[in-house]
């Protein structure tokens, strides 16, 4: 699509309302002052959870201001309540499929390895299931920070055994140009849960305790141990979640303070999340179900495409999105994820047991009790890429990449045509999921 042919009916696969600390802040602030409650909600959502890049993968209710379609690669598979496959079986079967692709097509893989649990699952599965000969087709794209995250594993299983590619320099476009199929575990959180949930479980009292009554605080304290109880509905925590989703009254770069904050934003966001959860194509009952579903469904596409969208400055976007492999999009993982939320496999009662089943899978190979019992979820992507340079000859600055249309045209939020499109749809967007419509 030529950007000049864009009109109000143009459909998009992916969108990002993103404060950039500079020019985009000016645009979003001006637009905020022009649009109604629906448009303000969308921009405030970026203020609460910057950036706002949410969309649904199934038929559950999640309205966007602009016409959209589900990116085909990420459409959620049909939920099968009789599925009994394990996490280990999913990992092994995915690895065996890579072995097949190596044998049949001599395909070369570049594993984005951060030292975190999700990417260590990939390397572990490949080491367990591939022959030495097959492993010659696997390179490790990584940084020193990854080594520091798990030095024992690095020493025993990676260093000197694989070709190493520096992720501080090599972005996805470079890997694709070198003929690799980049493999990312960036979608690993999506099958286990979300940092948004971990923060609530771990620090709710500090974050929102002062906003709750004594009775409400006691209620949360008395029920939080049931966060993975399949018979305790997430709405038991409704008051606390409404307070939790309210954005703060202080600015944090690159997000400015809203001088006229919406006191009902937390209620509106809870209602939007809750409606999406209640209309999900699989059961969403417990508090952990609730947070898991947010990332498994409405945040999954962002987790999936952000490598192609933001760490790729020149490679054809359609090819990049569809060529970059999301390890956990493998149907066996997706099905496992929809069937194992409340049995202790994803989390016990805190951050130290998050992704429990994955820790156990890695332990089978490395026997490292420190990693199994102490590893914490770290946001590795930003750390691994802090020295990468950005080239804007083909695509705009990453923070200005508003989205892609259904024919994979990149949209630049600084483009007047795109700004008109965004303002038009934000102006017409209505809050239909909550009784708080103003």
């Amino acid at each position: 699509m030529n950007i000049n042919t864009m009109n109000a009916d143009t459909k998009i696969y992916y969108s990002s309302v993103n404060w950039d600390g500079a020019e985009a802040n000016t645009f979003w602030t001006e637009t905020y002052n022009e649009v109604g409650p629906g448009g303000k909600f969308v921009i405030d959502l970026a203020r609460r959870i910057n950036p706002n890049r949410f969309s649904t993968r199934d038929s559950s209710e999640w309205t966007l201001p602009w016409p959209d379609e589900i990116l085909p690669k990420y459409k959620l598979i049909q939920y099968d309540s009789t599925y009994t496959g394990t996490f280990s079986e999913a990992s092994d079967s995915q690895a065996m499929d890579y072995a097949r692709r190596i044998d049949e097509n001599n395909e070369k893989f570049a594993i984005m390895y951060s030292g975190g649990i999700d990417s260590t699952i990939i390397t572990t599965a490949l080491i367990k299931n591939l022959t030495k000969e097959q492993l010659k087709n696997v390179a490790i794209c990584t940084s020193v920070q990854a080594v520091v995250e798990n030095p024992n594993y690095w020493r025993k299983f990676i260093f000197g055994k694989f070709k190493i590619i520096d992720s501080m320099i090599n972005k996805y476009d470079m890997l694709l140009e070198q003929g690799y199929t980049p493999v990312t575990a960036d979608d690993g959180d999506c099958i286990h849960g979300t940092v948004l949930g971990l923060n609530f479980y771990h620090a709710w009292e500090q974050k929102i305790g002062h906003k709750l009554t004594a009775e409400q605080r006691t209620h949360v304290r008395n029920n939080l141990h049931k966060l993975s109880d399949k018979d305790t509905h997430f709405s038991v925590f409704e008051d606390a979640l409404v307070a939790y989703f309210q954005y703060g009254d202080t600015s944090l770069f690159p997000i400015p303070t809203n001088p006229n904050p919406d006191p009902m934003f937390g209620r509106k966001l809870y209602d939007k999340y809750a409606l999406n959860a209640k209309t999900a194509s699989c059961p969403v009952i417990s508090l952990h179900d609730f947070f898991w579903w947010l990332i498994f469904n409405v945040k999954m596409i962002n987790c999936g495409v952000r490598g192609a969208m933001y760490y790729n400055d020149r490679y054809d976007m359609e090819k990049a999105i569809n060529k970059i492999e999301n390890w956990y999009l493998w149907p066996a993982y997706q099905q496992w994820s929809m069937n194992n939320n409340n049995n202790g496999q994803k989390i016990g009662f805190g951050a130290g047991t998050y992704k429990k089943v994955a820790r156990d899978y890695i332990y089978e190979l490395d026997n490292n009790v420190w990693y199994r019992d102490f590893k914490l979820k770290l946001e590795s992507m930003g750390q691994n890429s802090v020295r990468q340079t950005v080239i804007t000859d083909v695509y705009p600055k990453p923070s200005h990449r508003f989205g892609i249309t259904t024919d994979y045209t990149m949209l630049d939020i600084m483009d007047p045509m795109v700004q008109y499109y965004v303002r038009h749809h934000l102006s017409n967007f209505k809050i239909t999921w909550s009784e708080e419509t103003t």
Partner: protein
């Protein structure tokens, strides 16, 4: 040369980051020059950083001894009277030789017995009115400035550097990391591969005066003005707390990371 007013260590902002016995710890690290035979600085902070300060100063003064006062030392010594003291043991062994003959780089010792000796006047080569005296007093002032500034640099890095990759590769993973991998010193994503803390150390080592050093440090911040170096810079000038050298006006007017150079900033991408 500007004089840094700095006598009572305990009330300095950098003291807030140290174990100082809730304000009761006395000055404990003595900086001694064997060549002049006088002490020239004292601080109440940790011995490790005191020794690093002596290394920085070694570009100007050879064989500095950092001597830790024992619990029986009763002398009231501070940066207002430190140049009035010498030490009673002139044969402190550093490595395999006496101080005067050992090395350019400093030595460190914990002193068992009281060792500070008050002097009524400077040695003959360094009495007031001589070139040597002026140079020594200037050096003493510079030393106090280095102590204060290097502590400040280490503190802002400890607080704000979340990617100490170079340190880990060198200290913990030597020989175990592919040589092709990038090893930035910190998370500042600055033009300088050294990062602000290491740049400051190099400036302190090479500068001749406080004024020279502070001007070069200001230029370093200007050239490395990123969203991630911004909090380092703000903390540097705040806890350095030097009224003669506040944050330069052109930098001080930046009140948010948004005011820094965003050309290399790719946004929060998670």
């Amino acid at each position: 040369m500007s004089t840094v007013a700095w006598g009572n260590n305990i009330n300095e902002k950098i003291s807030f980051f140290h174990m100082n016995a809730r304000g009761r710890r006395v000055n404990g690290n003595i900086f001694y020059s064997p060549g002049v035979d006088r002490c020239f600085a004292v601080d109440t902070f940790d011995p490790y950083t005191a020794f690093e300060c002596a290394k920085i100063l070694s570009s100007k003064m050879p064989a500095i001894a950092v001597l830790v006062i024992g619990k029986d030392e009763k002398v009231d010594v501070h940066n207002g009277n430190i140049t009035n003291f010498t030490v009673n043991d002139k044969q402190i062994i550093g490595g395999s030789a006496g101080l005067l003959f050992s090395r350019q780089t400093p030595v460190f010792r914990k002193m068992k017995d009281p060792f500070l000796v008050p002097c009524l006047q400077m040695p003959k080569d360094y009495v007031p009115g001589t070139q040597g005296y002026d140079t020594f007093i200037e050096f003493s002032e510079y030393a106090k400035f280095v102590i204060r500034t290097w502590h400040t640099a280490k503190i802002f890095e400890m607080v704000h550097n979340f990617l100490p990759m170079e340190e880990f590769v060198n200290d913990f993973l030597s020989g175990e990391v592919d040589t092709s991998m990038s090893t930035p010193a910190d998370s500042s994503n600055t033009v300088s591969s050294l990062g602000p803390k290491n740049e400051i150390r190099r400036i302190l080592y090479n500068a001749d005066t406080v004024d020279d050093a502070m001007n070069k440090i200001a230029d370093m911040w200007r050239e490395n003005n990123t969203p991630h170096s911004y909090p380092m810079r703000k903390m540097f000038y705040t806890i350095l707390n030097n009224p003669d050298y506040p944050e330069p006006a052109d930098l001080a007017k930046q009140t948010s990371q948004a005011d820094t150079d965003l050309s290399g900033y790719s946004g929060y991408l998670l």
